[in-house]
């Protein structure tokens, strides 16, 4: 490829060209290399990667998308896989590693088929048929519908997702935390909300439509689980309302969820202020004013000059400058606010008013945090006090409410905790851990789990994990292939084999005998699918037990994943493999 072959580089432009088998082999090799990087991080016994950047900053992670994002992948085909992981991260939030592994395996097998003289278009149509059959099989046979989801299932799903992560040792604790956090932000979804919020669902929908042969029923139920808001009452779980704060120190087990509370990384502006306010005995809530404006001495805008004739006026201007802010603060205090938070500065000379009124005031808060807090407490972030008439007023409507606010010392810093927010759901998870790297990784792991719990709650369906779904699909597709009379048959068989890469990798990472385990798994599933005996029905939930190195009923063992995430990852992986397989020419231009 680097030595231009005169025959293949017959371009009259400054660049290089590769065609046919060369480029395909190159692409597939690159994809495999990428998959190899993340392969060892799959599964409950997967390990972490440490990434060190140019400056020497360290990142320790187990998350496939994060690993690939941080690597400087240069090969264009490999980049497709990196983007694939990113897409999976955005759409589903979990399963980024497995999607890359499946895609690369599909590519490898596709490439072998091409070598055996099968045209890529046949492979592509074969893959599509296999995908279609696989998706409908998952929906028909594998999916367990949990109409009234018990906490138990949610916790199991969260646990499965985080078992491979750094917090995998304390899954009981963290899965509980994740489920409680997601449940605490439950909201009634309006039609508009569903449309706007579930861009994820419709994204999957769009992905479905791209597949020409996608059966309408499949795509409707893929999107329908989330977009069918009009028919019955649905809930949404905006993860953005879950605020994750990281503070190093203590141990990871001391992380906690402030249910219905909010923590903001800010400290009191003056030491004279109280560290704690709570609702009065008569039940009035603590009112919080959230401002996005400067409470500093008023000053004219740049370039505005005041020209006065009478020297005495100067004194008045000065006085007025101070009074403007004073009046504003007075108005805020008069509405009964007990806590004032602003994104901008507060002049020292105004502190006294707050101190005297016993108000907690914090300046330079993060604007995003304030917006969330506003939502949580049912208030509004006020950007200006001016009204239509040109007067200034502070509307008491804008105030948020809560039970109490306290300044808390964490490690070496201070944070403001807001307890018992009165608005829509909001929760804060405060993560503690040995050091920053650990906290970052815990944050990523928790995010994945939160996504999984959310998906479960929204779609109400789950599939067994631990390679069970893949093994079942593999067996099913093998049988399905036999019913096909065209040359796609071979391709579908390969697709069926390719899916086994997940249980295989899981077993290899656990240092178990992969060939034997996978063979046993397949035979169990084959028995389950071919048997007429209803007592064998449960066999389709058999998956790997990686600690013991045996197979077991993973549904009973609580290793579960949201069905939608499995379907989507299959879809994404197949699409990506197809995209790369279609390429038969690569031209790189020299600038």
């Amino acid at each position: 490829m680097s030595a231009p072959n005169p025959a293949s580089s017959g371009l009259f432009i400054n660049g290089q060209r590769e065609t046919g088998q060369d480029v395909r082999v190159g692409n597939v090799t690159a994809a495999l290399a990428v998959a190899n990087i993340v392969k060892t991080s799959l599964g409950p016994v997967g390990l972490d990667k440490m990434l060190v950047d140019d400056i020497g900053d360290v990142l320790i992670t187990n998350d496939g998308a994060t690993i690939l994002k941080s690597l400087e992948v240069e090969h264009p085909a490999a980049r497709v896989l990196v983007d694939l992981a990113k897409l999976q991260d955005q759409e589903v939030g979990d399963g980024t590693t497995s999607v890359v592994i499946i895609a690369s395996e599909l590519l490898r097998r596709g490439n072998d088929l091409v070598k055996n003289g099968i045209h890529p278009t046949t492979i592509i149509s074969g893959y599509r048929m296999a995908l279609k059959a696989a998706v409908s099989y998952i929906k028909k046979e594998m999916v367990v519908n949990v109409s009234e989801l018990g906490d138990e299932h949610l916790i199991n799903a969260a646990r499965t997702s985080m078992s491979s992560k750094i917090i995998g040792r304390e899954t009981d604790f963290f899965s509980r935390l994740a489920v409680d956090a997601v449940k605490s932000v439950k909201m009634n979804a309006t039609a508009a909300d569903v449309a706007g919020y579930d861009a994820m669902g419709s994204g999957g929908h769009g992905g479905g439509e791209r597949l020409a042969e996608e059966p309408t029923s499949a795509s409707a139920s893929a999107g329908g689980t989330t977009t069918g808001g009009g028919k019955k009452q649905r809930y949404k779980y905006p993860l953005s309302a879950i605020h994750i704060l990281k503070a190093h120190g203590k141990s990871s087990m001391e992380s906690n969820l402030i249910d219905g509370g909010f923590a903001i990384n800010a400290m009191r502006a003056a030491q004279g202020m109280p560290t704690f306010v709570e609702s009065s005995a008569d039940g009035a809530h603590v009112k919080i004013a959230m401002l996005d404006m400067n409470l500093q001495r008023h000053r004219m805008g740049m370039g505005v000059q005041v020209i006065v004739k009478d020297p005495a006026e100067i004194e008045n201007i000065k006085r007025r400058e101070m009074d403007i802010t004073k009046e504003r603060i007075r108005k805020i205090i008069d509405t009964g606010a007990r806590v004032v938070l602003t994104t901008k500065g507060v002049d020292d000379l105004c502190m006294k008013y707050f101190v005297e009124a016993g108000i907690i005031c914090a300046r330079r808060c993060n604007r995003e945090d304030l917006k969330r807090l506003a939502k949580a407490t049912g208030g509004r972030v006020v950007t200006t006090m001016a009204d239509m008439e040109g007067n200034e007023a502070f509307d008491a409507e804008c105030l948020g409410g809560c039970d109490s606010v306290r300044e808390v010392r964490i490690g070496d810093g201070e944070m403001l905790y807001v307890y018992g927010c009165k608005g829509h759901g909001a929760s804060t998870i405060v993560l503690r851990g040995a050091n920053e790297y650990m906290l970052d990784e815990m944050d990523r792991a928790l995010h994945d789990s939160l996504c999984v719990v959310k998906r479960m709650l929204e779609s109400n369906t789950l599939v067994p994990g631990g390679g069970a779904a893949e093994a079942a699909l593999s067996v099913y597709l093998d049988d399905y292939a036999d019913t096909i009379e065209t040359r796609e048959q071979m391709v579908i068989q390969e697709y069926a084999d390719a899916l086994l890469v997940i249980p295989k990798t899981l077993a290899v990472n656990a240092a178990k005998d992969a060939s034997e385990l996978v063979a046993r798994l397949r035979s169990v599933h084959a028995k389950g699918q071919h048997s007429q005996d209803p007592s064998d029905d449960g066999l389709k939930f058999m998956g790997l037990d990686l600690i013991e190195g045996t197979i077991r009923d993973n549904l009973a063992a609580g290793v579960v994943e949201p069905a939608i995430s499995k379907i989507k990852s299959l879809r994404f992986a197949t699409e990506a493999a197809i995209t790369i397989l279609r390429i038969d020419d690569r031209i790189s231009l020299n600038k």
């Binding site: 060892t40 390990l47 360290v58 187990n62 141990s251 004279g272 004219m300 039970d403 650990m438 240092a511």
Partner: protein, 564 residues
């Protein structure tokens, strides 16, 4: 691994940027363990009462002499990412509890070293991690059984406690003074925080402490070179390094009325850009006069409240000084905000920003004596004999700046120890006794454990012995003999307890090593205790970080920058 194996007939396919380097698998794990061991080895000799100091030279030629683990590691410039993450541990420990920074590194290093044989013999890291974690839970229960509660008002016990903490440090010759100072400072600064009245249904989580001890803000350490260490003292009030603005002002006032300002006492233009067009000669005069009047007005407003001392964070004009001197008021200018806060808390004054808003309640009257003193060549303002000072200044005297810096670090450690005990008045025996008890306890529990985790579980127990081992190593006695004896003592106590109270009984065995002589002593009698929170934090951090590092099987150098 920048390239995959070259397909036949083609060059290598570059997938990653060719600059990136990658180590993976066993190699990466072994390298990580080696890095952790290197970091632990640096500071191993600074543990215990017979510890040695380290002298660190920075690139600018400055020197630091210390045996504070965190301080040493902060200065050391390491390049290995794992070593960096170890150093972070020490920082987190320092911020969270302020003590045990050396032990945490040694312990974490030892945890990793003890994992090495398992890694080499192909035990899967997740198995090791699981075993470690199991052991951590077990160790914590053992610690809880071993803990005794102390009465924080028992001065003697508290003294002994602080003693064991800073006993290792340079200022051990002046122990008594240091300990008294630390105790006094913390008790001065401690303040009850308003507790939640149960009515509002608030969540009482781990963070709602009953006491607030803000050492950082309200216990200020002032270092004045010269004099001797015996001159160090904690003031029942505050002090700052400022002279009065005018030499005629009073330099000693009893029961002064103090007014604190954070606004300038001089003429200042407004924030907006204002221009004055003067057309008249008269106007010019009025303008000047106005400025004078403005200052005069402010001064008169202040004088009306008859303060004896006026302190501002900003400037004081000559004119204002004149008025104050005439009214027999002592004035200070350009005080730092933090100092002003301290004065406010010590004297009960409120910081005022506009002179027309002064109220009688803003004046501070809590101070018993104000005096200017000259130490060396500089003047210092002392506000002493405060009635209920909730802030204090600690004056440190000593030979040179380096000595003072070291004393300050020790004193800070001591204060943090006191603070931790005030928050959580539980104690664990020091001198390696806790570690040995945990080690013996883990061994006992580990033998009952089935499966592959047993090895790593026992390894944690062995790793805990590094503390008594290093202690005896540092004081120069026969390490093996001492540690074996100690282990035997604990094991015997265990058996005895089992005989008496049946299976699973846990003995309170407080035998440890006297770090000075290397002899075995009962910590109960010897009086060496450490705060529960520090010990627990140390063990937790050490095990968790060891687990994190063990889980890594791939190190990639030269990845993209963060935030991309």
């Amino acid at each position: 691994m920048a390239s995959a194996g070259p397909p036949p007939g083609m060059g290598p396919i570059m997938v990653l940027n060719s600059k990136t380097q990658r180590t993976h698998g066993r190699q990466a794990q072994i390298a990580n363990i080696a890095a952790a061991r290197a970091v632990a080895d640096i500071i191993r000799s600074t543990l215990g009462p017979r510890s040695m100091l380290k002298m660190l030279l920075d690139p600018m030629g400055g020197i630091v002499i210390t045996n504070d683990g965190n301080c040493i590691l902060r200065e050391v410039d390491v390049s290995h990412p794992t070593a960096k993450s170890m150093i972070e541990l020490s920082r987190a420990q320092d911020e969270e509890v302020g003590d045990g920074t050396t032990s945490v590194i040694i312990l974490a290093g030892e945890m990793l070293i003890n994992a090495e044989p398992f890694v080499r013999s192909n035990v899967h890291p997740t198995v090791i991690v699981r075993g470690y974690n199991y052991a951590l839970q077990e160790a914590l229960t053992i610690c809880e059984k071993l803990a005794t509660t102390v009465d924080i008002h028992d001065a003697d016990r508290m003294k002994a406690l602080v003693q064991s903490c800073i006993g290792t440090k340079f200022s051990s010759r002046w122990n008594d003074i240091m300990i008294d100072m630390a105790l006094k400072a913390v008790i001065t600064v401690a303040r009850e925080t308003p507790t939640m009245s149960g009515t509002s249904g608030c969540v009482n989580d781990v963070y709602s402490q009953k006491m607030e001890v803000d050492i950082k803000r309200y216990a200020k350490v002032e270092k004045i070179p010269g004099g001797e260490i015996a001159d160090c003292a904690v003031l029942s009030g505050v002090m700052f390094n400022k002279d009065v603005t005018h030499s005629k002002m009073r330099r000693r006032i009893e029961n002064p009325r103090i007014l604190l300002l954070d606004s300038p006492l001089e003429y200042k233009k407004g924030e907006s850009q204002t221009n004055v067009e003067i057309t008249d000669e008269e106007d010019w005069n009025t303008l000047l006069k106005m400025e004078e009047e403005y200052v005069e007005n402010m001064c008169m407003e202040i004088i009306a409240f008859k303060p004896d001392i006026v302190i501002t964070e900003k400037g004081v004009s000559d004119l204002a000084q004149h008025y104050f001197a005439k009214a027999n008021i002592t004035a200070f200018r350009r005080l730092r905000k933090t100092d002003n806060n301290r004065v406010a808390r010590a004297t009960g004054a409120t910081i005022v920003s506009r002179t027309d808003e002064i109220r009688e309640s803003d004046i501070g009257t809590g101070c018993g004596l104000f005096e200017m003193r000259k130490i060396g060549e500089e003047y210092f303002a002392f506000f002493e004999e405060c009635k209920d000072p909730k802030a204090c200044t600690i004056i440190l005297r000593g030979g040179s700046k380096d000595v003072l810096n070291e004393i300050e670090r020790n004193l800070t450690d001591a204060m943090l120890v006191v603070r931790n005990v005030v928050f959580d008045p539980r104690l664990l025996p020091g001198g390696g006794a806790t570690e040995m008890a945990v080690s013996v306890g883990l061994r006992k529990a580990g033998l009952k454990l089935e499966g592959v985790q047993q090895g790593p579980f026992l390894a944690v127990g062995e790793a805990m012995e590094v503390i008594p081992r290093t202690l005896s190593e540092n004081c120069g006695v026969s390490v093996i003999r001492t540690v074996t004896q100690l282990r035997a003592k604990h094991a015997a106590a265990c058996e005895e307890a089992e005989k008496e109270r049946g299976e699973g009984a846990f003995p309170k065995c407080n035998w440890g090593i006297d770090g000075t002589t290397g002899k075995l002593v009962d910590m109960e009698e010897f009086g060496i205790w450490e705060p529960f929170s520090v010990k627990i934090q140390t063990i937790k951090t050490a095990v968790e970080s060891a687990c994190m590092i063990l889980r890594i099987d791939d190190i990639v150098f030269g990845s993209k920058k963060k935030g991309y």
